[in-house]
Amino acid sequence: MTLNNLKTSLVELDARSRAKAILDEGTFRELLGPFEQLESPHLAAQGIVPQSDDGVVVAKGYIKGEPAVIISIEGDFQGGGIGEVSGAKIAGALELALRDNKNGIPVRPILIFDTGGVRLQEANYGLLAIAEIGSAIIELRNYTPVVGLIPGKIGSFGGMSITAGLFSKLIMTREARLALNGPEVIEQEAGLEEFDSQNRQQVWQTIGGEQRVVTGLADMLVEDDIPSMKEAIHAVFDKPETEKPRSTQVARYQTLLKATDPSYKMQPIEMRELWKQIAEGKPVQQTSAFHEPKNGETSYSRGQRWFEALAGTSSKHAEVQSILWTDKGIGGDRARFIAVIPNPNSRFPRARNGEVGLEEGWAIAECVREAVEEDRHGEKRAIVAIVDVPSQAYGYREELLGIHLSCAAAVDAYATARQAGHPVISLIVGKAISGAFLAHGMQANRILALNDEAVNVHVMSKQSAARITRRSIEELEKATEKVPAMAYDIHSFATLGALFGIIDGVDANTPTKEDSDNVMERIHEAIRDVKSGSTGLEHRFTQNDGRRASILVRKRLEEQW
């Protein structure tokens, strides 16, 4: 049996063969291969058969004669979902590539996406891993282009689309799709009128590879043909990087958003024309961006109450009224406080209840980056994210205009601040859900949470998670007893080791002066702790033994690197 040279499709291959096909011929060396049987420790407990490589292939080899690491996600296993082991394989490989590049040993990193995002059966483990993957990519980009290939059939969705937004270069086929929320999820959350997931033409016109490349959300369109894909990847590494990563181009994308009119459903073709003008540097007409409350609706969220209690004001972002931010002294240090709150008059109808939407992600990025810029040569102020975010915004406009990138921009800004030496603290006072939490809170050096029943961390509502994993809500709740990563309460989340502390004895709903003093002291304690430690996320591994598999994967990867 020889290699079949007639067939050059990559999409038809499994994850391992895809990695072999992209690397220079004969250079594939797999790390943590199937015979090591480092499988998910959380699936069997739920009656799900694990796979021996947990659906991620990591291999070293060469790309056009230069050392490379390739990571390939198996879309046929659990929809390419990111669990603890598969996530740690991706994060660990990128962290080792970073270490090598820092030490002057060039390693070219490539990721082949085929994923629906977080694996719902391992929920918060997936979220934690995706935050770590993002952090590694942002730092690695300083040394080498980080290249993503999205061949299809699945594409890249959920938290992994935020990850894709961080890449230096993205290569897609026409068949591939890139979106934060899949069409089915949007239809389920927002109704058929918002997005008809059965309308395949509309789906591909909105989030398909061609549209993404033409509107600047991806870089190169290729055929499903191995030589063309290799050529595209080689081209990226051949040419020195000139453009800044798109998740850092805050002003450009804010210009785009301001030029759109969300009062109607913009068509994909209009987005193409608008992007063409922006890409060519032509002026675009700005629609009115500022909206005063019109209907007297007020919504006073927990996030806002805590922001005011701690920061002493409620100063809003000039244009995005759902973002509160201000600077305040904190025991001799300075801190920038940022919160996302509901804005019932948001221009974007799907982002009026405190969700992280298009405008919110970019505005967070702007607020964080401004602090990084101002403190470039001085004392780095702390950045405190007050987290009460019910979800990311689910909507057609959101996906067309690239909400995954807006979330990536916030991730990028927080991680950049942290890596530059700003202590980044997040304080969970309410909901911390999914993509919204990834964007606003998950990149912190230290995470604090209030001890309260309404303080929740998870990736999807119980109803949706039950439907997608084909279980009843009772079965789902039973599974959470065995796998705390699937539970919603803050004490289960704490067992994963991600928290610096749970704050007891405060009124989470209506903080008193004493409560806010108490919490302020805990924030200050966290800032001091960061200052004596590293700028990375390692703190999360050392709190308890909640991340055993994540640590083991990294250790074994390093041994075989």
Partner: protein, 104 residues
């Protein structure tokens, strides 16, 4: 999840281990390692319950026709008997060939 252990006598030695398949809808993953013992030992993990007898029959028949001493792990995601036989045949082929192939 259901785990089934099976063992059949075998004499022929294999030289190479093999990994084929994926734990995806209607498919299964097979890890095959050569064994020094005169048996083929199988561990099947499947999400589908109530088919122990079918597994027994399919595997017994296959290893009557294919005499190989090996330790085999099967991770099943609802494969039909036909797919099981095809994947086993593929695993044997890989374990007896030097040239690796790209698989789908």
């Amino acid at each position: 999840m259901n785990t089934i252990h099976l063992e059949f006598p075998a004499t022929r030695r294999l030289t190479k281990r093999a990994h084929v398949g994926v734990v995806g809808s209607g498919d299964l993953e097979i890890l095959l390692e050569p064994s020094e013992e005169p048996f083929v030992k199988l561990t099947v993990r499947t999400g589908t319950t109530g088919f122990d007898r079918t597994w027994q029959n399919v595997l017994e028949r296959f290893f009557e026709e294919n005499d190989v001493a090996a330790n085999i792990k099967i991770n099943d995601f609802g494969a039909t008997p036909g797919v099981v036989k095809l994947r086993l045949a593929q695993a044997l082929e890989v374990s007896q060939n030097d040239v690796e192939q790209l698989e789908n």
